[in-house]
Structure formats: structure tokens, C-alpha cells
């Protein structure tokens, strides 16, 4: 089945220790998104890629970086995690941009704990 896969599902890191979360997709979608979702809140968009075109949200901290080496994979790097970065991180994809259905397909998420 075509899907969005996130690894690991649970990640524990120490305060200030860099961490990388990964996302892969078999949907061959052009657009990939990273969201942060804290408990009982809506997902908050951090950035998205349209192909290799990177789009950062204005309020995304510099501590968060992303890489998309190819269509299938996208990484979220947190350079110096703070306690406030503990959250569920969701990867999503969509097929296209203009004129698309707008549907986003979400992965299961990575739960990040910062000690």
C-alpha cells in the first residue's frame, strides 16, 4: 500500500542533543510537509517542500531545519532540542500544488521526548 512512513515512532533525546526524524513516502507526491503537534493542539506547520523548493513558515525557529535529498525522503533536524520541543512531529504529503485536490496524507508521527 502507498503510504507515508515515519521513523522512529518514538524518540527520546537529551536537552541540547541534536536529533533527526525521518519521513519517507511511496505516493510519489511532489509536496512534503512537517508539522509539530503538541498535546490537545492542532498541527502547526513548520515548513514544506514543493519538489526541492523549500518553504519555511515565518514563525518556525531556526533550531528546526529540513532536508529533502530526493522525492521519497524528507528529514527534520532539531539542532538543539529544548524542553518546549517535546511534541508529536507529523510528516504529510500532497500530490500537487495549484489545482490539486489539496488532500494531505499524514504519517503516523514521531513522538519526541526531551529529557
Amino acid at each position: 500500500d502507498a503510504m507515508v512512513i515515519q521513523n522512529p515512532r518514538y524518540q527520546v533525546t537529551q536537552f541540547g542533543k541534536p536529533v533527526t526524524l525521518s519521513c519517507s513516502q511511496t505516493l510519489n507526491h511532489n509536496v512534503m510537509y512537517w508539522y509539530q503537534q503538541k498535546s490537545s493542539q492542532a498541527p502547526k506547520l513548520l515548513f514544506h517542500y514543493y519538489d526541492k523548493d523549500f518553504n519555511n513558515e515565518a514563525d518556525t525557529p531556526d533550531n528546526f531545519q529540513s532536508r529533502r535529498p530526493n522525492t521519497s525522503f524528507c528529514f527534520l533536524d532539531i539542532r538543539s532540542p529544548g524542553l518546549g520541543d517535546a511534541a508529536m512531529y507529523l510528516c504529510a504529503t500532497s500530490r500537487d500544488r495549484a489545482g490539486g485536490t489539496g488532500e494531505q496524507f499524514f504519517g503516523p508521527g514521531t513522538r519526541l521526548t526531551v529529557l
Binding site: 507515508v4 509536496v31 490537545s40 493542539q41 492542532a42 498541527p43 506547520l45 514544506h48 507529523l90 504529510a92 500532497s94 500537487d96 500544488r97 495549484a98 489545482g99 490539486g100 485536490t101 489539496g102 488532500e103 494531505q104 496524507f105 499524514f106 504519517g107 503516523p108 508521527g109 513522538r111
Partner: protein
């Protein structure tokens, strides 16, 4: 102007009853309105979506009602079941403007009691 306001924050409905969640938006450029269902520990999954050229869309027990002039849309879950207990997010995006960023509502935690 980019906000989507969602209510109620939480909802408890008896099994077999109708669950109703409401959303309102201000950006008239929004042209795609999905509802996502999220179970604890899982990513959101698309439940049903509507475009502003229709006033209602029904899929099984789930119906979206859309009021373009009032800039409001709502999700109705008929014959609510315990398995429907989840958090529901409405969202909106401007697909025709080359911007597929979803603006999410704040979420409604739905609990169906036997």
C-alpha cells in the same frame, strides 16, 4: 484572516445520537475544506472534504454542510458510535492559488458514550 475557528472544544454524545462540530473562516480565498479525524497516538486522516460549489456532501454517516455566504461549515456524524470517539479537526486551504497549506481549526475532542 487566516484563522479557522472551531467549536466546541469537546463534545459528549450518546451512542446513536448526532454529533455536530462547527467551523468558521474569514479568508474568502479558501476553496477546499477537509475534515480530519485523529485517534490518540496516530496522525490525522482525511475523513471527508468539500469545495464551495456545493452546499452539502455526504459519505456514509458523515455529512459536511457548507454555507458560503456565512463562511461556515460543519460536520454532522449521524448514528454516532463509540468507534467515532476521536479528535476532529476542520481545515481550509487555497488550492487554486498554488498554496496547499492547510489552516487547521483548534480541534474537537468527541466522546461517544454507550
Amino acid at each position: 484572516q487566516q484563522q479557522v475557528k472551531q467549536s466546541p472544544q469537546s463534545l459528549i454524545v450518546q451512542k446513536g445520537g448526532i454529533s455536530i462540530i462547527n467551523c468558521a473562516y474569514e479568508n474568502t480565498a479558501f476553496d477546499y475544506f477537509p475534515w480530519y479525524q485523529q485517534f490518540p497516538g496516530k496522525g490525522p486522516a482525511l475523513l471527508i472534504a468539500i469545495r464551495p460549489d456545493v452546499s452539502e456532501k455526504k459519505e456514509g454517516r458523515f455529512t459536511i454542510s457548507f454555507n458560503k455566504s456565512a463562511k461556515q461549515f460543519s460536520l454532522h456524524i449521524m448514528d454516532s458510535q463509540p468507534g467515532d470517539s476521536a479528535t476532529y479537526f476542520c481545515a481550509a486551504s487555497e488550492t487554486n492559488f498554488g498554496n496547499e497549506k492547510l489552516t487547521f481549526g483548534t480541534g474537537t475532542r468527541l466522546t461517544i458514550i454507550p
